[in-house]
């Protein structure tokens, strides 16, 4: 089977799964419906692995042309190169594990088949996004994941107490994504205007081979618009407040969408368009600073959050900020490496938190948890591994990926390195706070919940174990030079091998000494954070205080820097005011007046004409005679 045939198959499996579940899923028993979806996902993963090992040169697979005019042609065409297949592996791999997890987690849910339909469709849309060979397919997948995430976040919209909130959270996510999408769309239009085509290959040719001269304003405009799109999807300032709210969705959704796949779409977009971004250093600077700011702000807010999923959500935002810093420095492969490891341990953390929530009968406030170390050992162990990985504990995957980015930052600018280090420290601090509060100390919940604590079933624990293993050994993908003599930076070389533009950027890998020193610094930082948290939360067993007792910086952090309130004031209220005024003016005054006025006018003219019908023969004959006179006169005068 050639790549040509494998790639459409990869897309076909989740689509089929989604369609089958969508149409007849209601009538199937729960296990069958879930298995179909999970099987579809695993088959896609298997096919992706086959394709991955077969791939030599980039392959385009043309399905059909959507529009083909002289000036404009848009094709449904797929591009399989190392970058896209790498993303496919992540998406299908982690997606399959999450499908397996959901089979256990959502067992008691009514809309079981609906959930799996949406999951499969989401995978399908995401695959289109990464496998497309032009920006049009990317946009198609972009919108697809947007709508699927809306469905999934607001999945429990009919819940008795929180249904409205879920729906509102889904709406918020969708609207903020939309704002980003507008930027992306404008970017696409600019690309069309400048290059006349949306194909990656053709644009790359025009930029790199033909050395087409593009005005710096145009390229700045294009890249800024693409970045705005990425901001919406990948939750950067100012469009990130949707992601914490999106935790209203079921936990597998958070794992899939907000840890591993959808939020990485923005990163993928930038990496795909790396040659464009290389031409616009201004945009790269903006990306860097926005990413830096996001990373700091999100980490700060996460320090005092008390919902287990919200901490992880802000952690995701912070890590995405880190990724954008990497992209801003032109370290594309480093970003992809951290994206991969982040997918591993973030999914692990989310699924672990899902297991905790499931064990505690849907409790999410960490102040009512505690001492779960002995009660759910497997979850505890995997969660610990995830926490260590994200904090950059030496030799786990996160350590290597973060270190590579920090290395690039150090070479770029020492100040940048320091600020980034602060963000890393905060990451370690809040993650360990979370770990110790949840798993150590005494259990603080009610007795009833305590009775029901049980370890996760196999369908939920297998993914946890797999992801934990990946989080540990994931660092091997892109080891820096000091560990092995040869075969280092495997992933960077693999990606640069046949992805356009990356080989030109190919980051410089620092010399051994600097790398070693930086590594030691990172180890010290993460170990000291671990120690501090152990002291505060482990030994002293201090638990987060109730909301009322907060003050100072803690209050700012817990209240999410009042960002939601600020947005509400700045944007939501004026729009609502405008729409109300518009309703009053346009709808009531203008349109109503127009329509009713028309009706009244017709009635009025009817009244006027009614006076003619006197019912008296004399008058009728008079009018008839006048008509005859008029007629004869007309012909008289004409001739």
């Amino acid at each position: 089977m050639s790549i040509q045939q494998l790639v459409p198959l990869i897309l076909l499996f989740p689509l089929l799964g989604g369609i089958i579940n969508g149409i007849i899923g209601k009538n199937l028993p729960k296990t069958v419906s879930g298995s179909i979806a999970t099987l579809a996902s695993f088959l896609a993963f298997g096919t992706a692995i086959l394709a991955f090992f077969k791939l030599e040169e980039p392959v385009t697979i043309h399905l059909f042309s959507v529009i083909s005019l002289d000036d404009l042609s848009l094709h449904a065409r797929f591009l399989a190169d190392n970058l896209s297949l790498w993303m496919v592996l992540i998406i299908t791999g982690i997606g399959s594990l999450i499908h397996l997890f959901s089979m256990g987690y959502m067992k008691h849910d009514e809309g079981y088949y609906k959930f799996f339909t949406y999951l499969n469709l989401f995978i399908f849309a995401m695959l289109i996004l990464v496998l497309g060979s032009n920006y049009f397919m990317l946009f198609f997948g972009w919108e697809g994941v947007g709508i699927c995430s809306y469905f999934l976040i607001g999945f429990h919209y009919s819940d008795a107490e929180k249904g409205m909130l879920n729906g509102l959270a889904a709406r918020k996510a969708f609207i903020m994504n939309r704002i980003g999408d507008l930027g992306l769309l404008i970017g696409l239009f600019l690309l069309l205007a400048q290059f006349g085509t949306l194909e990656y290959g053709e644009i790359a040719n025009k930029v790199l081979v033909d050395k087409m001269s593009v005005s710096s304003w145009m390229i700045f405009g294009i890249t800024i618009c693409l970045f705005i799109g990425a901001t919406g999807k990948s939750a950067q300032i100012p469009l990130f407040t949707w992601l914490p709210d999106a935790m209203a969705g079921p936990t597998p959704v958070s794992a899939l969408i907000h840890a591993a796949t959808m939020v990485t779409a923005g990163i993928f977009l930038v990496v795909r368009s790396n040659y464009l971004f290389e031409l616009a250093p201004a945009t790269q600077d903006i990306m860097l600073y926005v990413g830096l700011a996001t990373s700091l702000v999100a980490a700060f807010i996460a320090m005092r959050q008390n919902d287990i999923k919200k901490v992880l959500a802000y952690s995701t935002v912070s890590q995405l900020g880190l990724l954008f810093v990497a992209l801003g420095m032109g370290a594309y492969t480093a970003a992809m490496f951290h994206l991969t490891t982040h997918a591993f341990f973030k999914a692990l953390l989310f699924l672990g938190s899902g297991s905790v929530i499931h064990a505690l009968s849907d409790e999410q406030d960490i102040r009512l948890m505690g001492g779960l170390r002995k009660k759910i050992p497997l979850t505890h162990l995997t969660f610990l591994i995830g926490t260590l990985a994200i904090s950059g504990f030496p030799l786990l995957s996160g350590f290597y990926s973060k270190d590579e980015i920090l290395g690039h930052a150090f070479h770029e600018n020492i100040g940048l390195y320091v600020i980034l280090m602060i963000s890393v420290i905060m990451t370690a601090l809040y993650m360990f706070r979370l770990y110790f509060v949840v798993f150590h100390g005494k259990f603080r919940g009610s007795h009833e919940v305590e009775h029901h604590i049980h370890e996760a079933p196999a369908s939920m624990s297998i993914p946890l174990v797999v992801l934990a293993v990946l989080s540990v050994i994931g660092g091997l993908l892109n080891l820096p030079g000091i560990f092995l003599k040869g075969g280092t930076h495997w992933m960077s070389h693999h990606l640069e091998h046949n992805t356009t533009g990356l080989s030109l950027v190919g980051g410089e890998h620092g010399d051994s000494n600097t790398t070693l020193i930086l590594m030691v610094v990172a180890v010290i930082v993460s170990l000291s954070a671990l120690a501090i948290c152990y002291v505060i939360y482990g030994k002293k067993e201090s638990i987060p205080v109730p909301d009322a007792q907060l003050s100072g910086w803690q209050k700012l952090s817990a209240r999410k820097l009042y960002l939601d309130e600020i947005y509400n004031f700045l944007f939501v209220r004026p729009v609502e005011w405008l729409s109300e005024k518009g309703y009053k003016f346009f709808e009531i005054t203008f349109l109503n007046g127009l329509v009713l006025g028309l009706a009244k006018g017709i009635g009025f003219s009817g009244e006027l004409v009614k006076k003619w019908q006197t019912g008296r023969v004399n008058w009728y004959i008079l009018w008839m005679v006048s008509g005859i006179i008029g007629l004869v006169l007309y012909y008289l005068v004409k001739i």
Partner: protein, 171 residues
């Protein structure tokens, strides 16, 4: 006294009597004036050498139709007192309308150019009038002639049916 004068006098009398028909207040007087008008028009016909039409005019119109009118008038027992009058507005409007109709029609027709100038071929012998008319009627126009008899029958039936008094059920 040449023909012209006679024609003019006759024309004037016709117009005068027609005017009196519509202007007189008493309905019976209107009927009488109408009969006079018919006589005048017949005189015009005789002047134009259409004797048969003239006689038929008098017999049919003045003899039959006007008698019918008189019958109905007598039946309704109308008199001068309960004669309805129309408003002044209507009279003015009607006068204007009638006047302009007259003007327009005269203006339309006055400049007509006669195509055939004075043919007057077969009017030399006068007794042939009835004969020739009869010939035309029974050869070229026999179909309308027959159909007109059907028309008369239907008119008669209609008139009788319409004016019949409804049977009163006396209980």
């Amino acid at each position: 006294m040449n023909i012209e004068t006679i024609a003019i006098i006759l024309g004037g009398l016709t117009i005068g009597s027609a005017l009196m028909v519509i202007l007189s207040t008493h309905p019976v007087r209107s009927v009488l004036y109408l009969i006079l008008t018919f006589f005048m028009i017949s005189a015009n016909y005789i002047l134009m050498n259409a004797q048969f039409i003239a006689i038929v005019n008098i017999i049919v119109y003045a003899g039959a139709i006007m008698v019918l009118f008189l019958f109905v008038l007598m039946l309704l027992n109308l008199s001068k007192d309960n004669e309805p009058r129309s408003s002044v507005k209507m009279k003015i409007a009607a006068t204007i309308a009638g006047g302009s109709l007259l003007t327009v029609l005269v203006a339309a027709l006055k400049d007509t150019v006669m195509i055939a100038k004075s043919p007057l071929a077969s009017t030399t012998d006068d007794q042939g009038m009835v004969e020739s008319l009869g010939q035309l009627l029974f050869t070229d126009y026999v179909l309308p002639f027959e159909i007109s008899s059907i028309l008369f029958i239907s008119a008669m039936v209609g008139a009788v049916l319409l004016a019949k008094r409804e049977k009163q059920i006396i209980d």
